[in-house]
C-alpha cells in the first residue's frame, strides 16, 4: 500500500489505512472493556481495616470464616495510626482492628462506632537478628548493646513511632533498656511493622524490633533468630477491634467470629496472647 495514504481516522472518506486504524482501535477498546467482565470482588463484602502486625493471623481467620460461612472479606492492612486517620476522614471501613486500644477508644468518643469495642489479643515485641548477623538476639538486648558499641549495627529497623503502635512500643522498650540514645540515629523506619520486618529479614537492616506474629508464617520463619522482649519494658500492645458506623449484619458476623474459640486459637498459633 502506498506510504502516502494519510491517517484519516474514523471518518467516512478514509481509506485502507483508516480501516486498519479503526480495527485497531476497536480491539484496543475491547481490551480495556474486557476487564470489566472479569470477576471483581463484590463491593458489599465486609471491608476490614487491620493492623499490619496481624496480617497472617487475620488471613487465616478470614479463610476459616469463608469456609464456614461462604462470606469473603476485603482486608486492608496498615499501620494502626494511618488507618485511624483514614477512618477519621470517612474511609468506608466497616470493622477496625488496631494494635493500640487508645485509638479505638478515640473512635468511640468520636461516635463513629456502632457497638462497644472488644480487645481480642495481646501482642509482644521481638528483637530480631537475621542469619549471619554479627550479633545475637537475646531478651535483655545485651547482644544488641555490645553490637552497637562495636559499631556492628549501623541500621536497625522499627516501625514508625509516629503512627504505628509497634513502633511506639519499640521505642519504649529501647528506652527502658537504655539503648535509645545510641540507636536512634541508626534507625531505619518502616511505614508499618510489616515493612520494618521486611527490612530486618531481608538484611537491609542489621536487625530490628518487630512483631513476633509476623515471623510465624512460612514466608518469614527461619530467616533469623529472635527473642521476645519483657512486657514490662513497654506499654501493653492491646489489639482492640470495633464495628464502625457503616457496618452491616455480615460484618457483625465476622466481629463475633473473631471472638470465637477457633479464632482465638489461630491468634495464639500466630504469636498473640489471647485475652478472651
Amino acid at each position: 500500500m502506498s506510504r502516502y495514504n494519510a491517517i484519516s481516522p474514523v471518518f467516512p472518506d478514509s481509506n485502507y489505512t483508516g480501516l486498519m486504524i479503526r480495527k485497531l482501535l476497536a480491539s484496543l477498546l475491547l481490551t480495556f472493556l474486557l476487564p470489566g467482565a472479569l470477576p471483581a470482588l463484590a463491593s458489599d463484602s465486609p471491608l476490614v481495616a487491620v493492623a499490619s502486625g496481624m496480617q497472617f493471623a487475620i488471613r487465616e481467620i478470614a479463610d476459616s470464616f469463608q469456609q464456614d460461612t461462604g462470606i469473603e472479606l476485603r482486608i486492608t492492612l496498615g499501620a494502626s495510626g494511618k488507618l485511624f486517620r483514614q477512618i477519621e476522614n470517612n474511609a468506608p471501613f466497616e470493622l477496625f482492628i488496631a494494635a493500640d486500644d487508645s485509638l479505638v477508644q478515640k473512635l468511640e468518643q468520636m461516635q463513629r462506632t456502632r457497638a462497644p469495642r472488644v480487645i481480642i489479643a495481646r501482642g509482644r515485641l521481638a528483637v530480631f537478628a537475621a542469619h549471619g548477623s554479627p550479633w545475637q538476639a537475646d531478651a535483655e538486648l545485651r547482644g544488641l548493646a555490645s553490637a552497637l558499641d562495636a559499631n556492628q549495627v549501623t541500621k536497625f529497623a522499627i516501625a514508625n513511632p509516629a503512627h504505628a503502635p509497634y513502633g511506639q512500643r519499640a521505642r519504649e522498650a529501647l528506652q527502658s533498656a537504655g539503648l535509645w540514645a545510641q540507636v536512634k540515629d541508626r534507625l531505619v523506619i518502616g511505614e508499618n511493622v510489616a515493612q520494618a520486618t521486611q527490612f530486618a529479614i531481608s538484611g537491609a537492616a542489621q536487625g530490628g524490633i518487630i512483631a513476633p506474629s509476623l515471623l510465624m508464617s512460612d514466608k518469614t520463619s527461619n530467616r533469623g533468630e529472635y527473642a521476645l522482649l519483657p512486657e514490662a519494658w513497654h506499654q501493653p500492645i492491646l489489639h482492640s477491634m470495633v464495628l464502625l458506623q457503616n457496618s452491616d449484619e455480615t460484618t457483625m458476623k465476622f466481629f463475633h467470629y473473631l471472638q470465637s474459640a477457633k479464632a482465638q486459637q489461630i491468634l495464639s498459633r500466630n504469636g498473640f496472647t489471647p485475652v478472651l
Partner: protein, 371 residues
C-alpha cells in the same frame, strides 16, 4: 467604482507595521503590488482576506462591505468570498488534490461537486491528477492545485501572494502564461503580490509600488518607467540613472528646458513648475540611452551627446550592460545596455572611449532637490 464592481480598499494599520493605502482594482483588472520585502504587501493581502484587522478604514467588493471601521463592521474571513493563493500554497497535506479543491466548493449534491472540482483541476492543466496528494506532486503542480482551489471558491476577488516564487524559472514562465490564459475566463479583480518588477510588468495591468507601507505610485509599467514620481519608485522600477542637476535654461517659447549635468547641457521638452537655478532630481531609463556607433556618427545620434570611458562591462547572454564614466568629474556614472552583438561590433571594451546620446523625451524630472 460607480458601477459598484471591483474592489475598493482604503485602510490604515498602526502596528505591528505602519501601513496606509488606498486603491481600487476593477473587475478583470490585475494589479501587482510591488516593493521591497517587509513593505507591507503581504499584509495588505491578509487584510483584504480578513486575517488581520486594520486600525481604521474600509474594504468593499462590488456591492458588499467587508470592513468598515466607522460602522464597526468586520466580516469574518470564511464569510468573504476571497480566493487566496498563499506563498506556501497551504495545501492540505493529507488530502488529495481533488479533495483540496472540494473543500472550497460549498453545499451542493456530491456528484455535482466532484464534477465541478474536476473541472477546475482540468482548467489548471491538472486533469487526471486529482487523486495525488501534495507530496506526490511537483512544485508547479502544487501551485496549480492552490489556484484551482482558490478559483473553486468562486471568489469575488483573487489574491495571489508571490505565487511563482517557489518554482524554477522554466516552471515560472509556464505558470505565468497559464495565469494570463485563466484571466480570460475571470471577471473578478486580481491582486498579485511580487517582489519581481519584471514579473509585474509581464502580468499586471497596473502596478502599485509599495514602500514602507505607502503606495508611492500606481500606474502601468510603462508610465512608471517613463515618469516615476520619485527616486524610490525609479529605483524600484529598475532605473539606475538617477541624478541631480540645476535647471540651466528655459526656452522663451516654453518648448524646452535645459539641465546642467556636469559639463553637458541636456535639452528636454518643457515641463511646468521649475525655475532657472533650481536643482532637480531627474532620471533616464536604460533604453533612453543610445550608444554611438564607433567612427560613424549619424545625425539622429547627436541628441544630447555625451562622451565618456567604459568602466564596467557585464555580459548577460544576449545583452551587455555597461557602466560609463562620463567625462566629467561631477557627473555620475551612466548605466545602459546594448545587444551583445552591437557591443562586439563596436569593439566596446573596458577603458575604451564611447559616445552616447540621451534621448530628450526619455529624460524625466521627478522633483525639486532643494528642501
Amino acid at each position: 467604482m460607480i458601477d459598484g464592481k471591483g474592489i475598493e480598499v482604503a485602510i490604515r494599520l498602526d502596528d505591528p507595521v505602519s501601513l496606509e493605502v488606498e486603491f481600487k482594482v476593477s473587475d478583470k483588472e490585475l494589479v501587482a503590488l510591488v516593493g521591497p520585502s517587509g513593505g507591507g504587501k503581504s499584509t495588505i493581502l491578509r487584510i483584504i482576506a480578513g486575517f488581520e484587522k486594520p486600525t481604521a478604514g474600509r474594504i468593499s467588493v462590488g456591492a458588499q462591505q467587508w470592513y468598515d471601521s466607522q460602522q464597526k463592521l468586520f466580516v469574518q474571513p470564511r464569510h468573504r468570498r476571497v480566493g487566496m493563493v498563499f506563498q506556501s500554497y497551504a495545501l492540505f497535506p493529507h488530502l488529495s488534490a481533488l479533495e483540496n479543491v472540494l473543500e472550497a466548493i460549498s453545499e451542493r449534491p456530491k456528484v455535482d461537486r466532484v464534477e465541478l472540482a474536476n473541472g477546475y483541476l482540468e482548467r489548471v492543466n491538472l486533469k487526471g491528477l486529482g487523486k495525488r496528494r501534495p507530496d506526490q506532486m511537483s512544485g508547479g503542480q502544487r501551485q496549480r492545485v492552490a489556484v484551482a482551489r482558490a478559483l473553486a471558491r468562486e471568489p469575488d476577488v483573487l489574491l495571489l501572494d508571490e505565487p511563482f516564487s517557489a518554482v524554477d524559472k522554466v516552471t515560472r514562465i509556464r505558470l505565468q502564461r497559464e495565469l494570463v490564459d485563466l484571466r480570460s475566463d475571470l471577471s473578478i479583480p486580481i491582486i498579485l503580490v511580487t517582489h519581481d518588477i519584471e514579473e509585474a510588468a509581464r502580468l499586471a495591468d497596473r502596478i502599485a509600488v509599495l514602500h514602507e507601507g505607502r503606495i508611492l505610485q500606481m500606474a502601468t509599467h510603462d508610465k512608471l518607467s517613463k515618469s516615476p514620481v520619485n527616486t524610490d519608485v525609479a529605483r524600484l522600477v529598475g532605473i539606475r540613472n538617477i541624478f541631480s542637476s540645476r535647471v540651466a535654461g528655459i526656452d522663451n517659447e516654453q518648448r524646452s528646458l535645459e539641465l546642467q549635468w556636469g559639463k553637458s547641457l541636456l535639452e528636454m521638452p518643457y515641463r511646468n513648475g521649475f525655475a532657472i537655478g533650481q536643482t532637480v532630481t531627474w532620471c533616464i531609463p536604460s533604453d533612453g540611452i543610445v550608444v554611438h556607433r564607433r567612427n560613424r556618427p549619424s545625425r539622429g545620434e547627436h541628441e544630447n551627446p555625451v562622451f565618456g570611458i567604459v568602466n564596467e562591462i557585464f555580459q548577460f547572454g544576449q545583452t551587455t550592460e555597461l557602466t560609463i564614466e562620463v567625462d566629467d568629474p561631477d557627473a555620475h556614472p551612466l548605466h545602459c545596455s546594448v545587444p551583445t552583438h552591437v557591443a562586439e561590433r563596436n569593439e566596446i571594451s573596458v577603458g575604451a572611449d564611447i559616445g552616447l546620446s540621451l534621448k530628450a523625451d526619455m529624460i524625466h524630472i521627478m522633483g525639486s532637490a532643494d528642501s
